[in-house]
Amino acid sequence: MKNKLRLLLPFLSICGLLAVTQSLVAAEVIHEEKSLYRDINVVQTGDRRCLIFNVHRGDRNQTCVDVNNRDELIFSYTKMSFAGLLLTPEPKKILIAGLGGGTLPLAFNDLFPDAQIDVVEVDQAVVNVAKEFFFFEENANMSVSVNDARVFVKRAGILGEKYDFIILDAFGGDYIPEHLLTQEFLGEIKQIMTEDAVLVANTFSTSRFYDHESVTYQRVFGEFFNFKLPNSGNRLIITQLDPLPPRGNLTTRAQSLAPSLEKYGVPLLEYPNRLSTRVDWDMSRRVLTDQYAPANLLQGN
């Protein structure tokens, strides 16, 4: 009897352990897909459904939605993108590079139903997953092109198309598309900006790369708003063609816009004070160009 118990004990304890871990981590992988560019996972924990790239390397969530309260934006960087409205409060033509789960375009479409929204995403698999699991839908005013953002922007420039709100959000995952960080690319972006357009780039806040990138944006746009929040690893670069407006204007705009953003959980009133023009990077770093853009190597250093 004792012997039997001794044999059973490890087995029982493993069973017990499994039961405990099962109940603690109720995260369920509801979809897995290998695309040409990355591994895509959709994971649901309770009501929260998240899109994760390259899960084995411990990447952060790309996008999350609350399936029962889809309007509310969960990530601070997604919310932070709305700070662009402080410069251009009523966008009519919006370009978003990088779809992710599609929460950002959905929110903009909801907020500005008459604005035309073009989304560029290089990975067809991401588009499929956004549609199937994250409630993303194209409609008369919002469409997705499966294309490289550089190609899209260059062509738009040649066709003379202009946007008044541009969001660059193509830097998810651990591979950096180097050709979307260069002085030449930003020059092409400038070409497709209307006079009163705003550019919002969700980029990097750490590593040597922060310096190179800041220097590059400064070279192309001059002064820009550097937007960081204390508890977020993201930083957004927000800029326009004209000189930046004084902070007083931003606060006034925040006050008038904040109520309409409440349902998305965007704390717009907190943002004006966080928009900084202070140079906190090493200005001696080299500008990134099509000739010199070892972004992935710099990121590692």
Partner: protein, 195 residues
């Protein structure tokens, strides 16, 4: 390989960084090399000599220069006429890389012919040659993607490759000249292994 690694970089501003751009690039390099092997092998049957051999290096160097000087002039019209970046990058790769790469492909079979004295040694020499050239390719790939892009502009690296090819061609010509002067009967045997 150095040129191939940079090839994607050169095309990214026009055709993006998607996997199809890499596909185009590698396809064109493979096609160009295969044509080069064929032509190089054929040329080696007609009076093989070090001068022709040196001309391969010099020719490859000269035909690499358009990659540096005319890249935009070549890619712009292609970008404007072909909307699909897959075919755009394929065509651009042909125009930019086909000629220099096929000339480089001629070097291997030709050098086998120059280095082989007898049938018995032909397998050995060919093996040695593939070894050297493939090690060289590995080195070029690693050095370019790990370090050169961090230290230099793309065009600086390409000029470096052009200079190395020109140097190799000149060294071969020089050695050939010296050997011809020192001996009346110059039976050239394997002295040059650069690729």
């Amino acid at each position: 390989m150095t040129v191939e690694m940079l090839g994607a970089r050169i095309m990214a501003p026009y055709f993006g960084g998607s996997i199809s751009v890499w596909g185009s690039l590698i396809t064109v390099f493979m096609l160009a090399l295969s044509v080069g092997y064929l032509v190089g092998g054929r040329l080696s049957t007609r009076n093989p000599n070090p001068k022709t051999f040196a001309l391969f290096f010099i020719g490859a160097a000269i035909f690499s220069i358009p990659i540096i000087v005319f890249a935009d002039a070549i890619m712009r019209p292609i970008f404007l006429t072909i909307e699909d970046p897959r075919y755009g990058s394929l065509l651009a790769s042909v125009f930019l890389y086909f000629i220099p790469t096929s000339i480089l492909g001629m070097i291997s079979p030709y050098s086998v012919r120059l280095m082989v004295d007898s049938h018995e040694h032909s397998g050995h020499m060919a093996g040695l040659l593939f070894f050297v050239s493939t090690i060289g390719s590995a080195g070029g790939t690693l050095a370019t993607s790990f370090y050169f892009v961090l230290w230099f502009d793309v065009n600086q690296i390409l000029w470096g490759a052009v200079a190395v090819l020109l140097l190799a061609g000149s060294v071969i010509l020089l050695i050939n000249y010296l050997l011809q002067n020192s001996a009346t009967d110059t039976r050239v045997s394997g002295y040059e292994k650069q690729t």
